[in-house]
Symmetry: C2
Subunit: 311 residues, 2 copies
């Protein structure tokens, strides 16, 4: 089978053996995969990664412990947790200290013809959820995570900084939940997707009680601090590498709360996608076969490009 | 009357006219004053401050709009708020955008023979609360603020980083509220005060769900991030000047919450002091007359020194 391999900045397509299926795992044939910014960062060598990337996918189960999974169309949670620790017992395997992570930490990713994941990581897709939409389940779950972490009051106005893929999904999720969302970004063609869904994208100065930093830049956090009211909350969705210079004085004087936010539960994301509440179709910039992964990565890294799919 | 004046690093004692008492204000004669780290920072020229410092005091009301205040022993809230804005209406004048701050922002401080404060800022002291203890009301209120901001569960274990004045008050307040407190610091003689009150001061590695950074240093925040469990909370009590380099990646990956925390309500602080639950007496390093403020500032800045009182 072929697989995509990242090493020292290069994206290669290699031939390799089909993976063994350990007990408790399913063998899955990916149908459609999504390139995430994290994949581009792995390519650039952050985290010293070398291996098979990919953690956004829809696939078909080929082999499993029990026959009822076989043939099912699935998405999969990316954290492979121990299932036994205090975190796992609280249903928070996403924070299991001994976890590996699909395509990121010690478990080869989804950009190959066959992958393995524990059966408990899988979610079978409803028949009325198209594959092209379901492939957004993982990043959409990360956007939904905000609603699990902070108690946004009814009618809250929320500023979302950044109009990349995650910024758009966050704005669309909050908008779909009835909040008043104002999105800030530099790409009119991206903002238009949010605007058409009801998000306010007219630039407006002012301060907000709720601010989401999804800029992906160190300046984003500094800007967010300046846009947040006393006693307000900033949700941190931008992974920035290395030390970020933050002026903590206004954070303390204004008693601002910062909340780090990462992966989320798949259930609400799949529900939103099934109900057609998130116009993810408009976020697809291109679709290329797996064998053309090097070109797909190149394209995904271009300015102004949103989601590039493989498969 | 004499007053202490800070300008370009120098601490001077000057003669000046007794301040006028505007309507709504009280004229107060300070009996005992405390030097805070903020005063030392003002001296160093942070915030471009030049003027009369001092915001920790116990005083006697000399003149007021109504006679019933006269002769009363009082402490005073340091934020002079407008009383009319949305913040003030929510009883959060501490965040009033047009506030001035006693001895810090646009209102001369308490280190003089007479000061003025709005009548609504004053708290009359119970007869059984000694002046030597009441002078800790303002910094103790800042320590209590943590309990107003985060919902600490019963039995929570809290790490307090830093054994300076504020770190000690925080550890003592949390300890007095039944929490399991572990304090980290570098001064055995300071930690002893907390230990004798029941705080665990034996150094122990490990991770905590609740961490308070009261180190006053940029390294403190980085250390706090490393000591915090996934989904844990760090309360930021250290005002550090300029940009602080923070690695936001573990904050996001571990979904850590950071809460900026500043001034607090005086009521719970006065209550704790009246009930004798905080051994502040042991935190006094020296007491000098107001006229000897230059020497008192010098002493307060020395390593290992805790509270230096004036008056």
């Amino acid at each position: 089978m072929i697989s995509v391999y990242l090493d020292a900045g290069a994206v290669q397509v290699r031939e390799e053996a089909r993976p063994e299926r350990p007990e408790g795992f399913a063998l899955i044939r990916p149908i459609l995969m999504g390139i995430c910014n994290t994949d581009l960062e792995l390519q650039r060598g952050y985290y010293g990664f070398a291996g098979v990337p990919g953690h956004e996918f829809v696939g078909e189960v080929v082999e499993a412990d029990t026959q009822d999974w076989v043939g099912k169309r699935v998405v999969g949670e990316i954290n492979l947790a121990c299932g036994a620790c205090a975190w796992c017992r609280r249903d928070l395997g996403r924070h299991c200290p001994s976890r590996s992570v699909l395509g990121i930490v010690r478990h080869p990713g989804a950009f190959r013809e066959f992958l393995t994941l524990p059966g408990r990581n899988l979610h079978a897709l409803p028949d009325d959820l198209p594959t092209e939409r379901a492939v957004f389940a993982e990043p959409l779950a990360a956007a939904c995570e905000i609603l699990d972490q902070v108690a946004l009051p009814c009618g809250a106005e929320i500023a979302v900084l950044g109009d990349g893929k995650l910024g758009l999904l966050i704005a669309l999720v909050l908008n779909a939940h009835g909040y008043r969302v104002r999105q800030f970004g530099r790409h009119p063609e991206k903002l238009e997707i949010a605007r058409d869904a009801g998000v306010d994208t007219t630039p407006a100065p002012g301060q907000f009680e709720w601010v989401v930093d999804a800029t992906g830049s160190a300046e984003g956090l500094r800007e967010a601090v300046g846009m947040t009211r006393p006693r307000g909350t900033i949700i941190l969705k931008s992974t920035v590498h290395g030390l970020v210079g933050v002026d903590t004085a206004p954070v303390i004087v204004n008693e601002i709360t910062l909340v780090g936010s990462r992966c989320g539960r798949f259930e609400p994301a799949l529900d939103l996608l099934t109900r057609g509440l998130i116009p993810v179709d408009r976020m697809v910039s291109d679709r290329l076969p797996l064998a053309e992964a090097p070109r797909a990565f190149e394209k995904a890294a271009r300015k102004g490009v949103l989601k590039v799919l493989l498969g």
